[in-house]
């Protein structure tokens, strides 16, 4: 019997999202050594990195909720 199976690793969208977000959580796109402006003492680039990290967490949540369905537990039902 074929079950409807969805694995994140086989979804191009998941890979595209991960690659983009991975690029964003590396601080290569800021001028070297720059820190101004500061927000409450935190350099602007650090805030952007934190926002990108949060975006990654949110994307992970979406992937887990919608792209992962293997029905593994149904195997146990008689």
């Amino acid at each position: 019997m074929k079950r409807r199976i969805s694995e994140p690793v086989k979804k191009p969208l998941v890979w595209i999202g991960f690659v983009i977000l991975f690029a964003l959580i590396n601080p290569w796109y800021f001028p070297a050594g720059s820190w101004s402006p500061l927000f409450f003492g935190v350099p602007y680039w650090a805030l952007i990195i934190l926002l990108a990290s949060l975006a990654l967490s949110i994307f992970i949540t979406w992937v887990v909720k919608t792209q992962w369905e293997t029905g593994a537990d149904e195997d146990e039902e008689p």
């Binding site: 690793v9 991975f22 934190l50 990108a52 990290s53 949060l54 990654l56 992970i60 293997t70 537990d73």
Partner: protein, 499 residues
């Protein structure tokens, strides 16, 4: 430099005794609730594959966040400034890497009753050579990891009690407690105590942050100090520090997700739904833990300027000291923080030890030495070998090598070499057994040689060079000489979804 903690002495001892007693009580509770725990490998090592969301979440939490996160990360943030902000995203990377293999692995774990990571490698490759090499690498990595935890327990205990309890006594006391509750309830004990320990740790780091913000100055003060004295700590990374940032993301992301004890926990989930919900929670924890301790380290830059590297290692102790002198609330909060730190170290150590024993029980003794032994005997052998390893490691811990950070990288370098077999094997039926073996061995040797020689080409960590070679050999070898048709069919039967 030793910091005399203001709260050291009897209150520290009291909290440690309370923690010890509580953990033992949990062990006894887990034992009484399930007396069959000593008769079944599934029950002892995986909690009967029945961990719910909350407990599963905290047991994952304990594998990723240890006492070292609290005591070791702020000094690093102190020395590197915002360059160490990478500690937040690298913990998120772990969950991202999990998503690339956990869904299928969980399903296979259910279908084939997998118990350990080595169990999976054996099922997939059916090669004694690969199985044994993977088991040895994992035991070595886990052993190093355990050693690091023991060193940290001793330092934590003697720090908390102001040397009233010597380093050695602290280590022995907590190891005895840890072994006792692990033996009593197996994975259930470990997971329940992980939950208590995780809550204690979270409470501790938050009070540390709040106290630091109130009494030691906030982030703007720290920024002013950095502008005046060390603007490089504030500036966006470039060149070498950008490479370090990238390496840490990859190394920690892959390394921590395939830690044998982290990997094994996937099998312990009660259901797919439980596993998913635990992962979602884990995806946000980096902000509440790594983010918080990072801020503590940054605040320290202004509060305790001009510390040498060795002095800065004591940063958290100094800050806790300053807070404990303020009032009774922070005094007790700091006692609890250090108790929580030690609890967190113990909770990481117990998970590691349990996985160590499970590999011995199931993969070495149970598979090759006495396949016909009953499960209670296999468990007993795992327990005894585990204790023997603990004794050897404690002896080594009396003379701790190097700084904590270097050991941290060392265990990753070995463990990460099992990644191609563990993950690639899930998806690629043509993966050739000989290529996997050669790659794993070559990667380990390269990583070890580079590490010991202190050689780091292009600034990239030696573990990643090893992994790269490992991958090239695995993929190249498999493309050049494919798995035989029989092996491929066998692999497809395992990893294909057809039943």
């Amino acid at each position: 430099m030793e910091v005399e903690l203001a709260f050291s002495g009897w209150s520290g001892i009291l909290v440690l005794m309370l923690y010890g007693g509580l953990m033992l009580a949990v062990g006894i509770y887990a034992f009484l609730r399930n007396r069959k725990v000593r008769e079944s490998l599934d029950e002892y090592y995986l909690g009967g594959r029945g961990l719910g969301v909350m407990v599963l979440f905290f047991t994952f939490f304990a594998t990723q966040y240890s006492g070292n996160t609290v005591v070791g990360y702020p000094p690093t943030a102190y020395r590197l400034g915002y360059q160490y902000l990478v500690s937040v995203p690298f913990f998120i990377m772990i969950i991202m890497v999990y998503l690339l293999f956990a869904p299928r692995l969980y399903a296979l774990g259910r279908r084939f009753n997998l118990l350990t990571p080595v169990d999976w490698i054996d099922l997939r490759f059916r090669s004694k050579k690969v199985t044994i090499l993977a088991a040895i690498l994992m035991l070595y990595g886990l052993g190093n990891y355990l050693l690091e935890q023991f060193v940290a327990i001793g330092q934590g205990v003697s720090g908390l009690t102001g040397g009233t309890i010597p380093y050695q006594v602290g280590v022995v006391f907590f190891i005895v407690i840890m072994v006792a509750y692990s033996w009593l309830g197996g994975m259930r004990s470990v997971a329940y105590t992980d939950t208590i320990q995780g809550i204690a740790l979270l409470f501790g780091v938050f009070t540390l942050l709040i106290g630091s913000l109130i009494y030691l100055g906030g982030l703007p003060t720290a920024a002013e100090t950095m502008i005046a004295e060390a603007p490089e700590k504030l500036g966006a990374p470039s060149g070498g520090s950008l490479t370090t940032w990238f390496c840490l993301l990859v190394l920690v992301g892959i390394g921590a997700a395939i830690y044998p004890h982290a990997f094994q926990r996937i099998f312990a989930a009660r259901s797919e739904r439980t596993l998913k919900r635990s992962f979602i929670r884990m995806a946000y924890m980096p902000f509440l833990t790594a983010g918080v301790v990072f801020m503590v380290g940054i605040i320290g830059i202004a509060a305790f300027p001009d510390l040498t590297t060795a002095e800065s290692e004591q940063l958290v102790g100094m800050m806790a000291n300053a807070l404990a002198n303020q009032n009774a609330f922070f005094y007790w909060a700091m006692v609890l923080l250090f108790g929580g730190v030690i609890a967190a170290i113990v909770s990481t150590a117990d998970s590691v030890l349990l996985t160590f024993s499970s590999i011995v029980s199931n993969d070495l003794y149970g598979r090759y030495i006495a396949p016909d032994a009953d499960e209670s005997r296999k468990i007993l052998v795992g327990k005894l070998v585990g204790v023997a390893a603990v004794v050897v490691l404690v002896l080594i811990a009396w003379y701790p090598p190097g700084t904590l950070y270097q050991i941290f990288v060392l265990k990753f370098e070995v463990l990460i070499q099992t990644a191609p077999a563990l993950i690639l094997g899930l998806y690629w039926s043509r993966l050739n057994t000989r290529a996997v073996f050669t790659g794993m061995l070559a990667g380990t040797i390269l990583a070890a040689v580079f590490t010991f020689a202190g050689y780091r080409p292009l600034g990239v960590y030696s573990g990643l060079w090893g992994l790269l070679l490992n991958l090239i050999v695995c993929v190249g070898g498999s493309l050049l000489s494919q798995a035989t048709e029989a092996n491929r069919q066998q692999a497809l039967e395992v990893i294909g979804w057809q039943r």
